[in-house]
Structure formats: structure tokens, C-alpha cells
Symmetry: C2
Subunit: 204 residues, 2 copies
Amino acid sequence: MKPKSQNIKSHHGTVSRADRQRLLGQQGCVCWFTGLSGSGKSTLARAVESRLQSMGRLSYVLDGDNLRHGLCANLGFSPEDRSENIRRVGELAALFVDAGAIVLTAFISPYKADRDLARSSIGDADFHEIFLDVPLEICESRDPKGLYKKARAGELKEFTGISAPYEAPEHPRLRVAGDLSLEDSSEQVLAFLQSAGFLQAPAS
Amino acid sequence: MKPKSQNIKSHHGTVSRADRQRLLGQQGCVCWFTGLSGSGKSTLARAVESRLQSMGRLSYVLDGDNLRHGLCANLGFSPEDRSENIRRVGELAALFVDAGAIVLTAFISPYKADRDLARSSIGDADFHEIFLDVPLEICESRDPKGLYKKARAGELKEFTGISAPYEAPEHPRLRVAGDLSLEDSSEQVLAFLQSAGFLQAPAS
């Protein structure tokens, strides 16, 4: 679909992503947290969100909580539906980035191909794969939702790390070690965003 | 950016919608523009976006341009796919509202049931149906993309207003008359947002 009218732009101008980024004093991007169930993706995303908010930066967390009941409510857990779920997250994140926001996604996203699709939707420069490198044994010992127990009992099929693969990122933008404290982990993410220039408006 | 409010610290590490709204100095909501093809939905949405940006407010336009090639790329134009398209727009808009943004959607969205579904996803208080009340004859005489011509020739099936119904809103939040200038139309929308309190942070 093309714009309804081209000549309107000369009167009103078109608001660009750069305009919105200048308004917000930041650059839109995606911190794509990936790791096993129980590796702390949502917890770290929320901690980073809190730090960004206190710095006056706009961020938004996308996770199962706000997507599985809404945009992705008509998707199940088959391999095809899981891929479509991640595809929608990628496209959604790309829109938020265009709006100027710093997006923090927290999905296991075990397949490299799905993450690569999200990267291509968002653009490599703005897609920061952050690998929570927590060993299976530790995730399973935490088991905050009792899912590993169910998976071991055969009650959950195709459970990542138990009965389905997790394809670890080969070259993540950041690797967060499993023995790091939450404070140190979020500091690592913040330091990256700061040093890479995402916490200031683009040069005009 | 200079935060619109100093009171932007999150409580207990969880950043709320209200926190983000205080940061942005506005309240998230959706202006849902509906009307026939050629009624000027995208043009008006872009004009309002431009006005909001110049006032330092964050808004974002959702229309066919940024959705049909991304989030909704796997949807066609069957009645079912059109409904799913509008459903996704509604859920997407609800997420942007939760992020604190003022969303401007520009879709024909001819069916009351689909718009009502979007309203229920977003919440009635934040869903502003804006009806571009432009008669078919005028839209057809504009025909910016030559679609009416094709529809009359039978080349486009189920074309809204010609071979498919347009269910006009019965009680839109705003009705924009077809003979209003673009400037007056956008002023009408801005005046509504201002008077309804959406251009200032929520009271804490």
C-alpha cells in the first residue's frame, strides 16, 4: 500500500524514526535474551527495564506474559506455531524499534533459524542477541515453575534441553555467565547499550 | 531526553504503564481511524502524528505500509484473513498503549465486530474510534490508487463500498466531516486528545 497522498508531506513533513529517537534521546534497538527455561531471561529483562526507566529511557519488555494471551493467543506449541510465535515477536519488535523504543525480549527461542529471522526483520545493527549461558543442571535445579520435573516425568513433550534441542548462539552480542549476580548481569547489558551509543539520540 | 516528570522511578523493580506514561508526559491510547478507501485515514493519521511530534509527544502510525509486509505478511484478503489482520492490529496497538505511546491506526476496518474486538483488546477508555465520514461519491472521485476503477470493472472482488459493506460506526468518539480541511481535521483530533487529558502524564 502506498501513502494516500504524497503532496501532504510538503505541508506537514513525515515523522521519521530519527525524529522519534531525538524526542526520546535514545536509539531504538532490541536486546534479544535467549537461554534455557529458568536461565533468568525475564528477570534480567525486568531488571534492565527498571535501570533504563530510572535513567529516563523508554524500554518495553516482550515476553510470554504479554504475548501468549494477546497477539499470539491463536498459536499453540507445535514446532510450526513456535516458529510463527518468534516470527511475530521479531516483527513486533521491529515496529517498536521504528517507534524509537528499546525492546527487551525474553523467549527461550531455541532455534538459530528463528533468531536469524528476527535479526533480519530488525536489522543486524539493532539486534543484540544476549545469551544467558546457564547450564542445564542449574536451570533444572532452580525449576521455578516445576516444568523440568514435568518434562522428566514425560508430562511435557518437546521440552527444551530435555527432549528438544537448544541451539546456543555461536556469536552472541553479549554472553551473560550463569554465575553472575542479577546486578552485575544488568550492569553488563547497560554498559553495552551505553558504550554502543543506544542511550543517546542519533547525531542529526 | 529530559523526563517529563521526575517521578519516574519504578517501584519494586517493576516498571508499570503509569511509570512509562510519566516518563513520556502523556497517556497511551489509540486513535482508530476508520472510513472508506480514499477517505484520508493515513493522511490524517500522519498529520496528527506530525502535530504530536512537534508537541514533544510520542505517537506511532500503524497502517498497511508497516504491517502488510511484516507482522501480517502471512495474511491475504479473504474475510477471515482481514479479520485476523484487524485482530493483530488491535493486540499490537494494545501493547503500544501499554508502552505509553499514542497509536494512530489507519485501516478501513469496515466491520463493527472487528472494531469491537479491537476495542475490547485495548479497553474502551483508551480506544477512540474516529470516523472519517466521507461519502462514497467523493472517495470514488478521488480514487488515489485507481482501486475504485478496478472494483467497478470487476477486477477487485469484495471491495468496500462497492461490492462489500462498510458498517459505519454508530457512536464514534469523533466524527470527522468529509468537507473539513486537513488542518481542521487534525486540529479536531488534537483538541480531543488535549481535552480528554491524553497529552499529559497521569496524576500519580
